[in-house]
Symmetry: C2
Subunit: 795 residues, 2 copies
């Protein structure tokens, strides 16, 4: 397979002056990067370098940094030359010094943090603060102007980039992908995002694969396959790859400039063609493969070992500055950039160099898209109450909760089509999770080939389906971080695939809450459906309610968890989530036909409280009950009410209070979560000393964990998922986990002291008989007993 080399190889678009100035600007960025990693003082090297000028702990990553700087300088040129709107995503975000250095050079850093002034004192503070207690993190963190991507955990750069580009027709997202990151799964599939990018309505992504050859200790795969394979791989992914390879800076500047010109020209051509003449085919977007030495311009060798162009440049090339000769190496290295040519005596970047940077919001550190809250417009929302399911008597009608939600989302979509700031994301589960009504007003995004029998595909669709939870999550994060809105629907079990991405987003939000200039963004909303209790058909691998447990480990100020028991409560919760900011909202709701409990008024009240007594199902008449039956989640609610009904029949004098929980965080102490009930309110609901049988959607331990400090905790008995599963009937799923009505009754009985031995024996025998009837019936018929399938709550 022949590699087609670009014609850029011999072109020289930069005149000698510009080239020299760009090279100087790059040296300035490199100088500032090395300074951040090493220097405590003497920022301009006005004195000979000595030990006291060097930080006691050297923390940072040099290896990727000069490459990130090189790309930044070149992007500045094309932004300025063509007045482009560009943001910069640094996949190798551990190269934090590069982004800090460049935003400092262009002035956006000082505008954001005035104490880091553009003078010698400011430069000293810039150096000292890096990776320093009370200073700034070593990575491209939320604190870094111009960033929407930390790059701490690798894999999501390109998904974030595409997420940012959707519905931003004017924006170009330059996305540097490290060759280490390129080995991750999430990144490997994210190249296919180009099948979802519409050149009419979306912006462009310019991926720059940076082959610097090594990870922490090993070479990278993509740096060690022949160029014909590399070319084929990216052609196969649907791009036109352009190679920029070498280590001679002057040659590389010309190469990079010529290639960037070519790429920008192609991007503009693709967009112009599509916008003027319509889209004929999926475009073949350009990408750049930049091969440069790791730790480029750093020390060639340290202690006799190759350093530039080697894995030894990954972090700090000379970790131990007490060692003979290391200070000299550092000083020689710093002086090789000739700082006196770059900065004037006051420490300010020389004017002719400063002029190379774009101005105002065109500076990548000041681009409002990278502080999306600035651009956020609230959604135009229809009144969710208009989608109410009619409930005249609790439990008499059935509905599919997520289908009702889909109708509401359909009109949310419709009302915001023009604004173009709302999308839905799902790993091929939009319809399976019952949001298909949305497809009446928009289609699935699809730029690939189509066939006549395809269903609801369109280039301008706004339902994004790719069978990758990573992509859905990454796209959505990029979309939200640039100031738009969305919802992610997923099978409950498989949302664990993005556990770690959730972690990173929650951490990002937590830090943003402490940064005044970061404006609030729309919350990241999950609908988890096809949940553990109704994956009876797919079996054990599809049965896992643990994401909630994972989520509640994160800071209380950023996470919310809702388990609405029916359609009207789900509608109310959905509306709330779409209006909220800076949270992660997890909504767990079923898609199967299920009993409806609350009319819309009651639903709104119940959701507003987050937890409450269902008086219509209770018979304690507002007095202290004998027994509290609590429930959280749709299936547990149904089983609880069925158990209550049985208890009422056998023990009509028993006073039972039924409590339903929508907002899980209500259970936690007010001191631990802003939604938490105070102890008085909790005790008023759950009593001081009465038995509580709690039927919960997920792992029972979570309820104990949230309530262990509550006064009546010793009487709390939780039923939930005990990690028992297989392909079976829906009711049998509850039976094998002890969440069914019969086990609930049995457990209530165990904790009630006022039941006579005869009655107790009668009830126990009834429960056993029912369970055995169930077991033999399903083994014979393959479905649940008719009395279970057709069970209805009767007032």
């Amino acid at each position: 397979m022949k590699v087609e080399r670009s014609e850029t190889e011999t072109s020289q678009p930069l005149d000698q002056d510009l080239l020299a100035m760009m090279h100087a600007y790059w040296r300035a960025a490199n100088y500032l990067s090395v300074g951040q990693i090493y220097l405590f003082d003497n920022p301009l090297l006005k004195q000979p370098l000595e030990s006291a000028h060097i930080k006691p702990r050297l923390l940072g990553h040099w290896g990727t940094t000069p490459g990130l700087n090189f790309i930044y300088v070149h992007l500045n040129r094309v932004i300025k030359q063509h007045d482009l709107n560009v943001i910069y995503i640094a996949g190798p975000g551990h190269g934090g010094p590069a982004l800090v250095a460049n935003t400092y050079l262009e002035g956006s850093y000082t505008e954001t943090y005035p104490e880091i002034s553009q003078d010698e004192a400011g430069m000293q503070r810039l150096f000292k603060q890096f990776s320093f207690p009370g200073g700034v993190p070593s990575h491209v963190a939320p604190e870094t102007p111009g960033s929407i991507h930390e790059g701490g955990e690798l894999g999501y750069a390109l998904s974030h980039a595409y997420g940012a580009a959707f519905d931003n027709p004017d924006l170009i997202v330059a996305c540097v992908v490290g060759d280490g990151e390129a080995e991750t799964g999430a990144l490997a599939t994210s190249w296919h995002s180009n099948k979802f990018l519409n050149p009419q309505q979306d912006g462009a992504v310019l991926p720059i694969l940076h082959l610097n050859g090594y990870k922490i200790a090993s070479p990278t795969i993509l740096a060690r396959i022949p160029n014909d394979e590399l070319h084929a791989l990216f052609y196969g992914y649907g791009y036109t790859p352009y190679f920029v390879e070498g280590d001679d800076p002057h040659y590389m500047h010309q190469q990079m400039a010529a290639t960037l010109d070519k790429a920008i020209q192609q991007i503009q051509q693709i967009q112009t063609d599509a916008r003027q003449h319509g889209i004929v085919d999926r475009p073949r977007w350009p990408m750049i493969i930049l091969r440069s030495p790791k730790g480029w311009t750093g020390p060639a060798s340290v202690d006799g070992k190759k350093t530039e162009g080697s894995f030894r440049s990954h972090q700090v090339p000379m970790g131990d500055m007490d060692q003979q000769g290391h200070i000299e190496i550092l000083e020689k290295w710093l002086r090789s950039y000739n700082p006196e040519e770059l900065f004037d005596d006051s420490g300010k970047l020389r004017k002719e160099l400063a002029e190379l940077a774009p101005e105002g919001n065109r500076r990548m550190g000041a681009n409002p898209h990278a502080n999306g809250g600035q651009l956020l417009q609230p959604l135009n929302l229809p009144d969710f109450q208009d989608y109410a399911v009619e409930v005249t008597v609790p439990g008499q009608t059935k509905a599919e909760a997520t289908r009702e939600m889909g109708k509401f989302l359909r009109d949310v979509m419709q009302q915001n089509l023009e604004a173009g700031n709302f999308r839905l994301f799902s790993p091929d589960e939009n319809n399976s999770n019952r949001w298909q009504d949305v497809l009446a007003v928009t289609s699935r995004t699809w730029m690939g080939e189509t066939l006549p029998e395809d269903d609801k595909l369109a280039m301008d669709g706004r339902v994004m389906e790719m069978l990758s939870e990573h992509q859905c999550q990454g796209w959505l994060e990029g979309y939200l971080l640039t100031g738009r809105h969305g919802f992610f629907s997923c099978y409950e079990a498989f949302i664990h695939i993005i556990d770690s991405m959730f972690n990173q987003h929650a951490k990002w939000l937590k830090i943003c809450n402490q940064i005044p200039w970061r404006k609030p963004i729309a919350s990241l909303n999950y609908l988890l459906s096809s949940h553990v209790w109704r994956q009876d058909h797919n079996g054990f691998s599809h049965q896992d309610p643990g994401f909630i447990d994972h989520v509640v480990n994160k800071k209380a100020e950023v996470v919310r968890v809702y388990l609405p028991p029916d359609a009207n409560t789900l509608l109310s919760v959905t509306d709330h989530c779409l209006r909220s900011r800076n949270y992660v909202n997890v909504v767990v709701a079923g898609k199967q036909p299920s009993p409806q409990w609350l009319d819309m008024d009651a639903a709104v009240k119940h959701c507003t409280a987050g937890i409450g007594v269902w008086e219509w199902a209770s018979n304690d008449g507002g007095q202290t009950p004998d027994l509290v039956m609590a429930c959280c989640g749709d299936v547990p609610t149904m089983e609880t009410l069925a158990a209550v009904k049985l208890l009422n029949e056998f023990l009509p004098a028993l006073k039972i209070r039924v409590i339903n929980v929508v907002d899980l965080m209500k259970l936690q102490s007010a001191s631990e979560h802003p939604h938490g009930l105070d102890d008085e309110a909790f005790d008023a609901l759950f009593t001081d000393d009465k038995p509580i049988i709690f039927a919960y959607h997920g792992y029972p331990m979570l309820i104990h964990r949230l309530t262990y400090r509550r006064r009546n905790h010793r009487n709390l008995h939780v039923h939930g998922f005990k990690e028992e599963g297989t392909t079976t009937t829906p009711f049998d799923m509850t039976v094998i986990n002890g969440l069914d009505r019969f086990h609930l009754v049995e457990n209530a009985l165990r904790h009630l002291t006022q039941v006579s031995p005869e009655k107790r024996a009668e009830m126990e025998s009834y429960v056993q008989q029912k369970l055995s009837e169930h077991a033999s019936y399903i083994r014979e018929h393959g479905e649940d007993l008719p009395e279970i399938r057709h069970w209805q709550w009767q007032q």
Copy 2:
């Protein structure tokens, strides 16, 4: 880009008899598959089909099934013809009926489950049990003979396949990758596994990308890019792709046979060349791209909608059998396979067809590699006590725990090199986690290009490093499931990337424990290092101890969690993990120089108990203490001992008991975990009523969750990670989370009633002064106070 078509396109390797018989065999498999999905009775259609013969609930996936059957039949032919040793991995494992049907046809199913006999009654039971309560799951589950891969969660087929092939030179792993699964991240990067497969010592993987065009509702990406892109993509991934495309069965049989012949011949050629003449270059292994209609041979249309070749075939083509005409469609469909030509009157597959299958262990359903416990040989282990760090006085020496572990693993590696059944896995973190000594006896596996300056790369290396946690996990799972041993080292925060893979493996093990013929396999062992407390340099994104919380949600019988406080305890735990079977062992240990507490004898005793009083650090003299100071994890242990020392100084009369926990599950009740202490033993350690200050490595809530039923729980006060992090000093990490010695002292004070007000004020003021000294020192110097850095426990 030109697609080179294989010369197979016109070849016809099957003579007409063989072709007819293979086609019949395929029809038999398809018939049995449809039967499993639909039929309750009348398995041979001896009577006209009627409603009573059909299952009440139709659960299963037809769409992928005929393709899986097609591949199975063709693999049978080449196995038999060349006496090959092949296992079959079905990425689209939801096509469970296919694997059940084929193992039934070849006889291995009946040998495993005699009641599913090869006759009409057995066939009826085969059909009924599928997706039926008390029967078998709808997916290729552990219950399915010949499987090491469920395919319930998509993405891991190819990683599992390569894991199985490593060190099995005689084995060919045929791996079907669905085009849905191919969109996942894990799968997209797993194609690069070919850079780690050595044709001398390893077996081969034959990937078969099955383009059936649709997911649940949408087309797939790879089915909708042009063939030249597809070809380039897989050429770029390093394969030679061969296309088999069409829908005419006879044409497709010839195509598939010719292509398989070609692929097998190439595999054998590559292996022969490498084994006879050495390896010159990384081989370009063959792969097959099979494009066939979804739901091939199923109903062309149902209710006027295209079904064969459409997403409507994904699950059950006619879900509602009460609808007019559906029974007729089903009967016509079933009869289209002409069952009477395939099975004799007794229901047995006709002899001439049965002879097409391989025999004995060559049958893919009976291959011992797919029941790896059968092949498992224990490791030849050196005595871990030989690697003891000398500890004459607790706390006086420092060591890097994981580096000591690395020395032990080096010799484990050495002593099992010949057996070739032990590998280490890490996402580019082997050395970072301090296992570099292992590289003295083996290298990193690497089949890519090499440069002179590379460090420890070799084609026959046994340390597997790719920057993908998914790959490490998937490879290791495949390696273990085929009867070998391994250890996975990972940064603690990023192990969350494989949360969901862990889930699936733990579920697999849980089910295997209930299946007598599944022999125990080696445990899946994790070392989590570079842990939350010592990611001070990388910042918040790298600080997350939540994997433990995730793990303990799984069945107690399969998960174990260890937090050894120093090197000798880590060595003891490591030895234990390498000997254990059918568990997931999570070991959390630090890599930084840290105080060593226990000599080897004490370490062995402590680890055997899993929890215990450290008498040398306690002053309760075996009496009831006034205060219990408990700790779990290396940093919490150090902070606890430093706090104890402070308390001893201020309050010499206070009787303090120090408890250290290695085996986290000791805290749980004996009724909930087999390792759990009974209540008497727990109370004897933690007292009935004394305050307990517990310093824990991870999220404090986990300790409450494990102990909430314990008698003295109300007096338990847990310190741990509170989700506060940034780039700072190591000690400051503990301070911002309140885990440091000063906060521990402060909290102890809060719960001690016997301290005089003066003493209390003195201590409180001391603590505040120390914390403020710390804060200003680190902000000035960037490192911890010398007294903190050089702190030592003094007896």
